[in-house]
């Protein structure tokens, strides 16, 4: 049965079982591999995307539950002001190591900044604690979110 979703502003149609998590639709059907698989059980945040601007774990989100809401992935997050600021701060502060978790980190941070333009440490903890970074880039993630929020340059 064909499903149509709005992903990064484009209509995408595909065949997928309704209970299939959005993550695998993105990666294996649509070939959008920027969104990562880390745990499959909403424990790591690697698969984070935006649904109507909110950070959601796509590994446990059945594609049928998306309905007509807008999906944004790492490939397009830079089109939003918050996403672009986050990407820039990430590079300015050289947050990234292996980078595998960072699609999810950036999506979570962009959603945080869009909702809370000036987050304090506890806002950052609450928004980002679901995203694991095995390389341990947390110190710089926190710094980069603050820099993105303040518009400060490094």
């Amino acid at each position: 049965m064909a499903t149509t979703l709005t992903i990064n502003g484009e209509q995408k149609s595909f065949d997928a079982p309704p209970e299939m998590p959005l993550l695998w639709v993105l990666r294996d059907i649509l070939g959008m591999t920027g969104t990562k698989f880390g745990c499959g059980i909403a424990q790591c945040g690697a698969c984070t995307v935006h649904i109507d601007g909110k950070a959601v774990r796509s590994c446990v989100l059945p594609v049928s539950a998306v309905r007509d809401r807008a999906v944004t992935t790492i490939e397009a997050v830079g089109n939003s002001p918050a996403g672009a600021k986050v990407q820039k701060a990430w590079l300015d502060l050289e947050v990234i190591q292996c980078g595998y978790c960072q699609s999810g980190q950036i999506m979570a941070a962009a959603a945080l900044l869009a909702a809370t333009p000036n987050p304090d440490d506890s806002d950052i903890d609450a928004a980002m604690a679901g995203n694991i970074c095995r390389c341990g880039t947390y110190v710089r993630i926190r710094e980069a979110i603050k820099q993105a929020a303040s518009g400060r340059q490094s």
Binding site: F14, A16, P17, M20, P21, W24, V25, R27, D28, I29, L30, G31, M32, T33, G34, T35, K36, F37, G38, C39, G40, I41, Q43, C44, A46, I74, E75, V77, G78, Q87, W90, L91, E94, I96, Q97, C98, G99, Y100, C101, Q102, S103, I106, I124, D125, A126, M128, A129, G130, N131, I132, C133, R134, C135, G136, T137, Y138, V139, R140, I141, R142
Partner: protein
């Protein structure tokens, strides 16, 4: 700046969207770039972001450098990028001696080829043991300098001047006397005809323009927008997706599979039954996962079905009572132990899984006469030869496309995932991407070994007079690189024990090889020093207490001959406000280590509540790694390494029951998260010594420094990792 992303654009612009062939030294005819057939799938092909290593029409003085006529400079990376920043540092070293234009640098992953890209330390292509920069420092500087000399010779010939009167900078040769300049691009073809110089001089470090600068990483721009391609992202025409279940009991086999229900799952294409693993191939990972869940698999659990952590620890403790092979002995240990105030303790380290964020995976296409592999590996050439064996093909018929790694940490020093994937892909004629679920990844790892290290020491006049140290644990090297295992000594297992920094007149280190029943072991970030830095530094703190000395003072008194170790210790103590008052239940702990030819001193400040819960408040590390090729990368690696080590100290343990791993995913194999992350301050010491290793030093600093902070705050001397909160809560004093 050209990045690998730029390369990809160029790549698709000229219509050749194949990686290429990476022929390197493999001049086999079938390795030719070709145009892709039209395809029905909705996605674009996702392959390694690189074109062929084309040498024609380029200046190609050696295996690492290609300069085309426009001056674009392609550097081929003998080591792999798994987050540690080595692609950038290696490029900086090459660019430094080449005097390349950094804005024109682009990178290629090296193909499998031990002859061209073998790690000089190991003689095979391997990224590990924090040695990429150490091993390649001289060879890559020489490669860069020699290429530069050939460009100068070409320019000098063109101008008919003495090469010695020419200078180079940022991709240009200049003859100052006549005011002439030529770019490397314009010189590329002429330089190709030059003879490489014999003994090429290297730069005086004071003239470095790139080395020592915090240059921006070359791999990160495409990691912020989803464009970076890891092994798990490979996409090919007509590919299918598979996932696996291996026998949960180590060493067990498949007995029987009922696939009636699985065959009916929409999108399931094929069930593949191997010796010890069942795979389901489907149209996507979801179909494969559902298919796997629908299988009824009976396992023949084999001889290990009764093994549990209890037996494993009994086995190790018994082994550690035996005499070991002597790895080092200075002075007279028997005499030394006969006098003074005696101390004895054993320190135990658990099994650990790697849990790279990118679960293990491999994409394979087996054809009648070839096999192609897409994966991210730390051992490209070994993957090639193991894939060849599994496919039943000659090694030159196997193409390996290496990728960025979503973390390696030693897990990708093993070829097992590729071998299993080849066996699966052999059953079909289309390409298959095999992705392990997190559960399978954690339960079928090669684990950081359990270790038990026993210290017997004596104190005379407040100093350690005798030190007998015995390591008991796996000899990972004996399996992984058998020729390196000599005279019963695993040089990795005793690393950082034989070279503990302290002046001790009677110093003796032994090693007992003890392979745990059932459980496969492997290298884990920090490797051998993992266990030894922990045991040595914990014992030093207990000895300091016994001597009634401050832990920093106590160490200082034994470092007269180790100025670099002493200097980092002193700076760390100062930066961390060592000795200043702290609130109740807050303590500071120190760790000093020379490992991977890097000296690092770390102070952890932690608060421990009445229930034994530990909050790490602050970490200060001072690191002397010799010349820091990229000081920001050094800082980042220490920061990340500390988190990796603290994660292990706070949570890390793989336990075994009935021959199987009890943990399965991040809910029960926990990782430190941002809300538990302390303030981390890393100070990089300026040094002119040759570069040391940096990817693992921080990992080993975390656990002993934290454990010593707990000792300072509570008086409880933990002797086993991970931290046992109940022991702290009970307040059992040392």
């Amino acid at each position: 700046m050209l990045t690998t992303e730029k390369l990809r654009q160029e790549n698709s612009a000229d219509g050749v969207s194949r990686r290429a062939l990476l022929t390197g030294g493999l001049a086999t005819g079938f390795l030719l770039a070709f145009h892709l057939p039209l395809r029905a799938a909705s996605y674009a092909v996702n392959e390694p972001v690189q074109p062929a290593d084309v040498t024609a029409g380029k200046f190609a003085p050696n295996a690492f450098i290609r300069i085309d006529e426009t001056g674009n400079t392609t550097l081929i990376m003998p080591q792999v990028e798994m987050g540690q920043g080595t692609y950038t540092s290696i490029s900086m070293i090459l660019a430094e001696e080449l005097d390349a234009d950094w804005t024109k640098v682009a990178l290629l992953h090296a193909p499998p080829n031990d002859k061209l890209y073998g790690n000089p330390t190991f003689g095979l292509q391997v990224t590990g043991n924090s040695n990429s920069i150490r091993a390649w420092w001289k060879p890559l500087r020489t490669a860069g300098a020699s290429a530069r000399a050939m460009l100068v010779q070409a320019a000098a010939a063109e101008w008919q001047v003495d090469p010695a009167s020419c200078t180079t900078s940022r991709g240009e040769v200049t003859h100052a006397a006549s005011g002439r300049k030529l770019g490397y691009g314009a010189l590329a073809l002429a330089a190709q005809g030059q003879t490489p110089p014999k003994d090429v001089p290297l730069k005086d470090p004071k003239d470095f323009v790139y080395i020592g600068q915090p240059l921006k990483r070359l791999d990160t721009p495409e990691k912020v927008n989803g464009k970076a391609v890891y092994g798990i992202d490979a996409l090919l025409p007509d590919m299918k997706f598979a996932t696996v279940a291996a026998c949960p009991v180590f060493g067990g086999k498949v007995a029987k599979v009922d696939d009636t229900a699985a065959q009916k799952v929409p999108g399931v294409r094929k069930i593949v039954v191997l010796d010890d693993t069942v795979a389901v191939i489907g149209d996507h990972m979801w179909a494969a996962k559902k298919g796997l869940a629908a299988l009824k698999i009976e396992w023949d659990e084999g001889p290990n079905a009764r093994i549990g952590s209890k037996e494993i620890w009994q086995h190790l403790r018994a082994a550690s009572e035996k005499d070991g092979a002597v790895a080092k002995s200075v002075g007279d240990i028997a005499k030394g132990l006969a006098t003074g105030d005696k101390f004895e303790a054993s320190f135990e380290m658990p099994f650990l899984a790697h849990a790279s964020m990118e679960p293990i995976n491999a994409t394979i296409h087996v054809k009648p006469d070839s096999c192609e592999v897409w994966t991210g590996t730390q051992i490209a050439s070994r993957v090639q030869s193991e894939a060849a064996k599994a496919a039943g093909l000659p090694v030159e018929k196997v193409i390996v496309n290496n990728h960025l790694l979503g973390g390696g940490f030693g897990r990708k020093l093993e070829p097992d995932m590729v071998v299993a994937a080849v066996k699966i892909a052999k059953q079909v004629d289309y390409p298959v991407k095999v992705v392990w679920t997190r559960e399978e990844d954690i339960q079928h790892d090669v684990y950081r070994p359990v270790y038990r290290d026993t210290v017997t020491a004596t104190l005379v006049d407040g100093k350690v007079a005798a030190w007998k140290y015995k390591v008991a644990g796996s000899a990972v090297l004996a399996r992984w690189l058998p020729p390196a295992f000599q005279k019963g000594i695993d040089i990795d297992a005793v690393d950082a024990a034989v070279d503990a920094p302290y002046d001790i007149p009677n110093f003796h280190v032994e090693y007992v090889r003890a392979e745990p029943p059932a459980v496969p072991t492997g290298f884990w970030r920090g490797v051998g020093p993992n266990n030894n830095v922990f045991a040595v530094e914990c014992a030093m703190d207990e000895l300091a207490r016994k001597a009634g000395k401050d832990p920093v003072e106590f160490r200082r008194a034994m470092l007269a001959n180790k100025p670099r170790a002493l200097a980092v210790l002193n700076t760390a103590a100062e930066k961390a406000n060592w000795g200043q008052p702290l609130p109740p239940r807050v303590g500071r702990g120190v760790c000093l280590q020379p490992s991977f030819e890097t000296f690092i001193a770390t102070v952890v400040e932690a608060e421990i509540d009445e229930l034994g819960e530990v909050a790490v408040r602050r970490v200060v590390s001072v690191v002397d790694t010799g010349i820091a090729v990229n000081p920001d990368t050094v800082k980042a690696q220490i920061e990340g390494g500390l988190i990796f080590g603290l994660t292990a100290a706070l949570y890390g343990e793989i336990t075994i029951d009935k021959g199987r791993v009890q943990q399965s995913n991040f809910h029960d194999y926990r990782m430190l998260r941002i809300d538990q992350t302390p303030k981390i301050e890393v100070h990089v010491v300026k040094s002119g010594e040759p570069p040391g290793g940096i990817g693992e030093a921080g990992v080993n600093a975390g656990p002993p420094a934290l454990r010593n902070a707990i000792l300072a705050a509570t008086g409880v001397a933990l002797r086993r990792m991970p931290i046992d909160r109940s022991l702290i809560a009970m307040g059992k004093k040392a």
